[in-house]
C-alpha cells in the first residue's frame, strides 16, 4: 500500500505569461512516518513527439514527512525556451508532476498545457520564430491525470515488491502474477464444472 497519497494539487498563477515560474500547491497525506525524503519533480514536455525534449524544471526533496497531512508550494522556473522545437512552442503540451520515494517514482500527475498568443494579431498570423515573451501559458488544472505506480516502500518487510531480477518480461509485477493465478483458477473451475454436470 502506498504510504503517500496526493490529496490535492492547485495550479497557481494560472494562466500566466510563459516566463513566469510554475507554481503548484500540493497537499498530500502520509499514513506513517517516512524514513526518507520524498523527491518531487516537475517535468515539462517540450515536444509531444519525442522525450528528448523533456525538461526537468526542478527537483526538490521534501522532508521530514511525519504521519499526517502536509502542504507545500512547489515553484519551478519556466522551461528553457531555446530547447523547445520551434514547431512545438505554440499549442498544447503536457507538464508532469512526479513524486518518488527511495529512488522509485510512485505517482505522476499530468496536466495539459496550452501555450497561445494573447494578441489576436499574433493569433491570426503566428510568427515563424515563436515570440515566447508574448505567449501565455494555460494549465488545465481542473483535469489532472493521475497515474500511480506500485513501489517498494519498505525494504525488508515487503519482499513481494522487490523488482524481479529478470529483464523484459520480468517487468510484469507480482500482483499480475497473482491475477494470472486467479485466471487459471477460473479456467480450472469451469473444466471441473463440466465434469460435474456430466457426472
Amino acid at each position: 500500500m502506498a504510504k503517500v497519497h496526493i490529496v490535492n494539487v492547485v495550479v497557481l498563477d494560472n494562466p500566466s505569461p510563459f516566463f513566469n515560474p510554475f507554481q503548484f500547491e500540493i497537499t498530500f497525506e502520509c499514513v506513517e512516518d517516512l524514513q526518507e525524503d520524498l523527491e518531487w519533480k516537475i517535468i515539462y514536455v517540450g515536444s509531444a513527439e519525442s522525450e528528448n525534449y523533456d525538461q526537468t524544471l526542478d527537483t526538490v526533496y521534501v522532508g521530514p514527512v511525519p504521519e499526517g497531512k502536509h502542504m507545500f508550494v512547489f515553484q519551478a522556473d519556466p522551461p528553457d525556451e531555446t530547447k523547445i522545437p520551434v514547431g512545438d512552442a505554440v499549442g498544447v503540451t503536457v507538464v508532469l508532476l512526479t513524486c518518488g520515494y527511495k529512488g522509485q517514482e510512485f505517482v505522476r500527475v499530468g496536466y495539459y498545457v496550452n501555450n497561445s498568443y494573447t494578441d489576436p494579431e499574433l493569433q491570426e498570423n503566428p510568427p515563424d520564430t515563436p515570440q515566447f515573451d508574448k505567449l501565455q501559458r494555460n494549465i488545465l488544472g481542473t483535469q489532472p491525470r493521475v497515474t500511480k505506480f506500485k513501489i517498494d516502500w519498505d525494504d525488508a518487510k515487503d519482499p513481494e515488491n522487490i523488482p524481479p531480477s529478470e529483464n523484459g518480461e520480468g517487468a510484469t509485477s507480482s500482483s499480475q502474477n497473482a491475477m494470472d493465478m486467479k485466471a487459471t483458477l477460473a479456467t480450472e473451475s469451469s473444466n471441473s464444472a463440466c465434469a460435474m454436470e456430466v457426472a
Binding site: D37, R108, Y112, T147, A156, P159, A171, A178, S192
Partner: protein, 966 residues
C-alpha cells in the same frame, strides 16, 4: 421478500466485487473488489438509498460515502469490526488495512470524479502474509482479527496492539480461503484447498479438529471458501464440500464435530456461507409453539443463493440466476432482515425480508444468556477477558506483579544514553522551510496540516479548491534557511518494475483551446515504455564504458577476460581487476600475443584479490591520546611526490611518507615504489609498496624497526593492531607477524574463504591472539590454532536471510563491551545482522523458517561458547528460550531447563546429559541463576499462561534445590 439489484452499486463500471459487509449499525455497507487496472478498491456505501426508494431518487443523499483506492491488489475481503468502529480490508497485495473514520472530513478523490462524503483513513497496515489474503474475520468482542491467505497460513492479529501478531496458525497444506469464529470466541475455523477444514482452539491456538471426510472429493475450484458458525454456536457450516458426487455445504455439529448433515441442492461448489447474526424465533402456525432457529444464506458458483432455517428441512427460498457469475460473498444486517450478496460479475443483490418471513430476533441478553447456559461464556465476557486461560497459581500472579514493577523501575533507573532515533520533528504549521543541499537542490519541509476537529463538518475551503487552478499566487509563506543540508535519501536504487494504475478522468472532454492536443500526448501521462527501456539500457552502457576504459589501461587483462568467458563467474571476477604491470625502467620489448596470454593466465591464477592502491596523496590518522585542542597526528602518503623521468635508466619516481602534526613535519622518508597501503598505531607505522615490500617504522622517530620485508605477492590489505601486522596479499595469503617477538604467527592461504566473496572487510586479533576475519558479505571466521583451520562464527547469509528478523537482532554493543562480548562486537562490525536488512527475505515454507531460526540461534550459541563469551551465550540462550516460548515448544524448553537444573532432579536424562549437567556452570554463568532468569521469560511472554505450569514446576524444583543447598 423483496429482491433488488441497485445498478449504481458497481466498482468502476462492472469490475468484480469480491466482498460485502453491512455495518453493525445498519447505516452503511462496504464492498471490496477490483479497482482500476490491477489495483484494489474498497467502497463505503450509504445503506439508506438501497432500502428506500425515496432516498435513492434524492440527489442530496449521497450514495458513495467513501472510496478507498489504497490497496494495490484486488480486495478479497472487507469486514466491519463487531463494534463498528473499524473496517478491515485485505487482498492480493498481501496486506490488511484497518480503516477508521477520520476527522479530516471528506473531499474529492484527487484525479477522479468521485467526491468522498466521509474520510476513512488507515490506522494500521498489517503485513505478515506472503501471499494474497482471501478472507478476514473479527473475533466476537473484537479481541482478535484472523486472516486467511494463500500462503497456507492463518494469522491472528491483536486488535488492541496493531500490528502485533498473536499467532501464526500453520497446518494447512493448501490455500486457506476462509475463516470464521464461533460466536463465543472459543474456536476459530479455517477452510482451505487442502481438502480440509480446521477447528482451532483459541486458548492455545492448536488444532482441535481437522475435518477431511466431506472434502475428500473437492477440487480447488472456488475463489473463496467462507464458512460460518451459527449464532447459537451449535453448528458450523462449511463452504464447498461433496456428498455422493454433489456439491454441499457441510453442517458440522459442535458436539463431537459430527458431519452427518449437509445442505444439498446447489449445482456447483459453494463459495460462501453466512449465518444471520441473530437467533430467531417464530410461533409455529401448526403447533402454536415457540420455535427457535438459525437462518443461513448459502452462495454458490452456480450463480444462485439459497436461504435455510435450521428448523426446516427444505430451503426457505432459492434465488436462481441472480448473477451472471459466481457468488463471492454474503452479508446480513444486524437486524437480520437484510441480506446482501456480491458476485464476480460486479453486481450486488439486496434482499429484504419481513419479520413474518424471517422471524423475530432474540434480544442480545437472551442470546448472551443462551451462550452462558450452553458454553459458560458469551461474546460479552470474551471481550473483557482477553487472556484465554486463568492464572492457576497464586505464586505466578505475585511474580507477575513483581516483574512488572521490577521492569518499570529498571526502565527508569538504567536509561542508557544513546542517540535518539531519527524521529521527524513536528513540521511547521504556518509555513514551509526551504534549505539547500550540497548539490544545489532545494529541500522543503512541508507545512503540516493538523486534523480538523469534528467529524461532521467537512472542510469547505478544501472542497472548493479541488483539482483547480487559480490566478493567484501561492499564499504559503516560504522561509528560506541559508544552510546546506543533506537530503535524507538512500543511494539511488535500480529502477524497479512498476505496475501502473492510472486514473485519468475518463470521458471528460477538453475545453476549447486544448483541442489541438497531439495524439501522442495522453501517452505521456503514464510512464512510457521507451523511457523505461532507456533507463534500463543505461546501466549496461555505463558498464561498457567502464570496461572500455579498463581496456585502454590494460589491454592484456581484457584480452584474458574475453578468452575466459566460459569459465565460472568466480574466475571472471577475480580476473577483472588484475594488478597493473609494474612500471619497469627497463622496458621489455613488446610481447607477442601468446606471451600475453601466458602472463595474464599466471596473474589470473595467482591474484584472487585486487591490489590495493592509494590515491596520489592520502592521510591516515594516527591513533593516540586525542585532545580537543590539538588535531591528531597524521601519517601522510604522497605518491609521485617527484615524478621520475620516463626514459629507461632515468631517475625513478619518488614517493614520500611523512608524519605531520598541525602542519609540522615530524619525519619524512622517501621510497621509489608507489605506496599501496598504509596503517598506523600508537607505536608503529606500516606501509606496503607496489614492489611487494613491507616497511615498518617507529611512529615517533620514523626509524625503520626492521629492514623492508619482502612479501610473496602484492599487498591487498594491511592491518596493524598494537604489535601485530597483518598483510593480505593479492593471492589471498594472510600473514600475521608479531612485532614484539619478531615472530610469524601465521601464514596461510585464505583463498577458499574469500574467493567469490566481495572482499575482506577486516582482520583482527582477539585478546587471546587468535585472528578473526570479517568479510564484507557479513561472514566472520576465526582461526582455531589447534584445528589449524578457520571456523565460521555466527551464521552464513543464506540462513540469516530467511530467519525471522526479530531473532537475528544482535544485542546492543558499546565499544567498551568489546572484550566482554567478542561475538557481538565482531558481528556488529559486519553490519549484516541488523533486523532491517535491505535484502528481501526469500519465500520459504514456514516450517523451514522455524527450523532455520532454531539452527541459527544454535549456531550463535556454539560460536559464543567457542569464544568463551558468557555474555553472548546468555543473550542467545535467552533468544532461544523466547523463541521456544513464542512457538509454544514446551518439550524443547524442558530439555533446556532440565539441563540447567542439574542431574539430581532429572534422573531420566541423567545418562545422556551426565557430562554436561554435572557441571554447575556454563562458561562462567551459574546454571541455577540462568534457569531462574530464563523462567522469568515465561512470565514476560504474551502467552505466558499456557506455560504457567511449566514455570511452576521448575520454579518449585529450583526452590527445593536451594533449600537443599542450605
Amino acid at each position: 421478500m423483496q429482491l433488488l439489484k441497485p445498478p449504481w452499486i458497481s466498482h468502476d463500471g462492472g469490475k468484480a466485487i469480491f466482498s460485502v459487509d453491512l455495518h453493525p449499525d445498519g447505516s452503511r455497507f462496504a464492498t471490496g473488489g477490483q479497482g482500476q487496472d490491477s489495483s484494489g478498491r474498497v467502497v463505503v456505501w450509504n445503506l439508506k438509498p438501497v432500502i428506500h426508494d425515496k432516498y435513492e431518487q434524492d440527489e442530496k443523499v449521497p450514495k458513495v460515502l467513501c472510496q478507498l483506492d489504497q490497496h494495490l491488489g484486488c480486495v478479497n475481503s472487507v469486514r466491519w469490526s463487531c463494534g463498528g468502529r473499524f473496517l478491515a480490508s485485505a487482498g492480493d497485495d498481501k496486506v490488511i488495512i484497518i480503516w477508521q473514520q477520520s476527522s479530516y472530513g471528506g473531499g474529492a478523490v484527487f484525479g477522479s470524479n468521485v467526491v468522498n462524503v466521509e474520510s476513512w483513513r488507515s490506522v494500521a497496515t498489517l503485513r505478515g502474509h506472503e501471499g494474497d489474503i482471501l478472507d478476514v474475520a473479527w473475533s466476537p468482542g473484537d479481541v482478535w482479527l484472523a486472516s486467511a491467505s494463500i500462503d497456507n497460513s492463518v494469522i491472528i492479529w491483536n486488535t488492541a496492539k496493531w500490528p502485533e501478531q498473536v499467532r501464526v496458525l500453520r497446518g494447512h497444506t493448501g490455500l486457506v480461503k476462509g475463516v470464521t469464529w464461533d460466536p463465543v470466541g472459543r474456536y476459530l475455523t479455517s477452510q482451505a484447498d487442502d481438502k480440509s477444514l480446521r477447528i482451532w482452539r483459541t486458548t492455545d491456538w492448536t488444532t482441535e479438529e481437522r475435518i477431511v471426510d466431506p472434502f475428500a472429493d473437492c477440487g480447488g475450484t472456488t475463489t473463496v471458501l467462507r464458512p460460518s458458525w451459527s449464532p447459537d454456536g451449535q453448528y458450523l457450516v462449511s463452504a464447498h464440500a461433496m456428498n455422493n458426487g454433489g456439491p454441499t455445504a457441510q453442517i458440522i455439529d459442535r458436539d463431537g464435530w459430527n458431519t452427518d448433515k449437509d445442505f444439498v441442492g446447489h449445482r456447483k461448489p459453494i463459495t460462501c456461507v453466512r449465518f444471520n447474526p441473530n437467533i430467531l424465533k417464530k410461533v409455529d402456525s401448526k403447533t402454536g409453539k415457540n420455535v427457535q432457529y438459525c437462518c443461513v444464506a448459502i452462495g454458490s458458483r452456480d450463480r444462485s443463493i439459497s436461504i435455510w432455517f435450521t428448523s426446516l428441512k427444505r430451503p426457505l427460498v432459492v434465488v436462481h440466476d441472480i448473477f451472471d457469475d459466481s457468488v463471492l460473498d454474503l452479508s446480513w444486517s444486524s437486524c437480520g432482515r437484510y441480506l446482501m450478496a456480491v458476485s464476480k460479475d460486479g453486481t450486488l443483490a439486496f434482499i429484504s425480508f419481513s419479520t413474518d418471513e424471517i422471524g423475530c430476533p432474540l434480544s442480545e441478553d437472551e442470546t448472551n444468556n443462551l451462550h452462558m447456559k450452553l458454553y459458560g461464556k458469551s461474546a460479552q465476557t470474551n471481550a473483557s477477558s482477553v487472556n484465554p486461560t486463568i492464572i492457576e497459581n497464586p505464586e505466578l500472579l505475585r511474580l507477575r506483579e513483581e516483574e512488572k514493577t521490577r521492569a518499570k523501575t529498571a526502565a527508569s533507573s538504567e536509561q542508557i544514553p544513546r542517540p535518539a532515533p531519527p524521529t521527524p520533528q513536528r513540521a511547521p504549521i504556518n509555513k514551509q522551510i526551504e534549505t539547500r543541499t550540497a548539490d544545489g537542490k532545494r529541500r522543503i519541509t512541508p507545512m503540516f496540516i493538523p486534523p480538523i476537529e469534528g467529524v461532521e463538518t467537512p472542510n469547505k475551503s478544501y472542497e472548493a479548491s479541488f483539482s483547480s487552478s487559480q490566478q493567484e499566487k501561492s499564499k504559503i509563506v516560504v522561509e528560506k534557511v541559508d544552510e546546506v543540508v543533506e537530503p535524507n535519501v538512500s543511494s539511488s536504487r535500480p529502477p524497479s518494475a512498476f505496475t501502473t494504475s492510472s486514473s485519468p478522468c475518463k470521458g471528460t472532454s477538453l475545453p476549447s483551446g486544448f483541442n489541438g492536443a497531439h495524439a501522442s500526448l495522453p501517452a505521456r501521462f503514464g510512464k512510457s515504455e521507451s523511457s523505461e527501456k532507456q533507463s534500463e539500457s543505461q546501466v549496461p552502457t555505463s558498464a561498457c564504458i567502464g570496461m572500455k576504459r579498463k581496456h585502454e589501461e590494460m589491454p592484456q587483462a581484457c584480452l584474458a577476460v574475453k578468452r575466459k568467458r566460459g569459465r565460472p563467474p568466480l574466475y571472471d571476477r577475480s580476473a577483472a581487476p588484475p594488478p597493473p604491470r609494474p612500471p619497469s625502467p627497463l622496458a621489455a620489448p613488446p610481447p607477442t600475443s601468446t606471451q600475453v596470454v601466458k602472463t595474464t593466465q599466471h596473474v589470473e591464477v595467482v591474484s584472487v584479490l585486487p591490489e590495493a592502491s592509494l590515491s596520489k596523496s592520502a592521510r591516515i590518522q594516527i591513533p593516540g591520546e586525542t585532545s580537543v585542542d590539538i588535531p591528531p597526528p597524521l601519517l601522510v602518503v604522497e605518491n609521485d611526490y617527484r615524478a621520475g623521468s620516463s626514459h629507461s635508466g632515468g631517475t625513478p619516481s619518488l614517493h614520500r611518507v611523512s608524519k605531520m602534526q598541525v602542519n609540522v613535519v615530524s619525519w619524512v622518508t622517501f621510497l621509489t615504489s608507489r605506496v599501496t597501503t598504509a596503517a598506523a598505531t600508537v607505536t608503529t607505522a606500516a606501509f606496503t609498496c607496489h614492489d611487494k615490500s613491507l616497511h615498518i617504522l617507529d611512529i615517533k622517530t620514523g626509524e625503520m624497526i626492521l629492514p623492508p620485508l619482502k612479501l610473496q605477492g602484492r599487498s591487498s590489505q594491511l592491518f596493524v593492531h598494537e604489535n601485530t601486522i597483518i598483510v593480505l596479499t593479492t593471492d589471498a595469503t594472510l600473514t600475521i607477524w608479531d612485532l614484539e617477538n619478531k615472530k610469524r604467527i601465521l601464514s596461510e592461504s585464505i583463498r577458499h574463504l574469500v574467493e567469490g566473496q566481495s572482499a575482506v572487510k577486516s582482520v583482527q586479533i582477539t585478546s587471546e591472539g587468535t585472528p578473526v576475519l570479517l568479510l564484507t558479505s557479513g561472514e566472520a571466521f576465526t582461526r582455531c590454532p589447534k584445528l589449524e583451520t578457520w571456523l565460521l562464527l555466527g551464521e552464513c547469509a543464506s540462513v540469516r536471510r530467511v530467519v525471522q528478523p526479530e531473532y537475528t537482532m544482535l544485542p546492543p554493543c558499546h565499544p567498551a563491551d568489546a572484550t566482554a562480548k567478542p561475538l557481538t562486537s565482531l558481528l556488529h562490525q559486519t553490519a549484516a545482522y541488523s533486523g532491517s536488512s535491505r535484502v528481501s527475505r526469500p519465500v520459504i515454507s514456514d516450517d523451514a523458517r522455524l527450523s532455520l531460526t532454531e539452527v541459527f540461534i544454535n549456531r550463535m550459541l556454539t560460536s559464543a561458547q567457542y569464544l568463551k563469551s558468557s555474555h553472548d551465550y546468555k543473550y542467545w540462550m535467552k533468544r532461544k528460550i523466547q523463541f521456544f516460548i513464542k512457538e509454544g515448544l514446551e518439550k524443547k524448553l524442558r530439555v533446556i531447563f532440565d539441563d540447567l537444573l542439574g542431574p539430581n532432579v532429572s534422573s531420566s536424562t541423567l545418562d545422556q546429559a551426565e557430562c554436561r549437567s554435572n557441571l554447575p556452570k556454563i562458561l562462567d554463568c551459574d546454571k541455577k541463576s540462568l534457569l531462574e532468569e530464563f523462567l522469568r521469560e515465561i512470565l514476560l511472554a504474551k502467552n505466558s499462561l499456557q506455560l504457567q505450569r511449566l514455570y511452576a514446576e521448575y520454579k518449585e524444583q529450583l526452590d527445593a534445590n536451594a533449600v537443599d543447598m542450605i
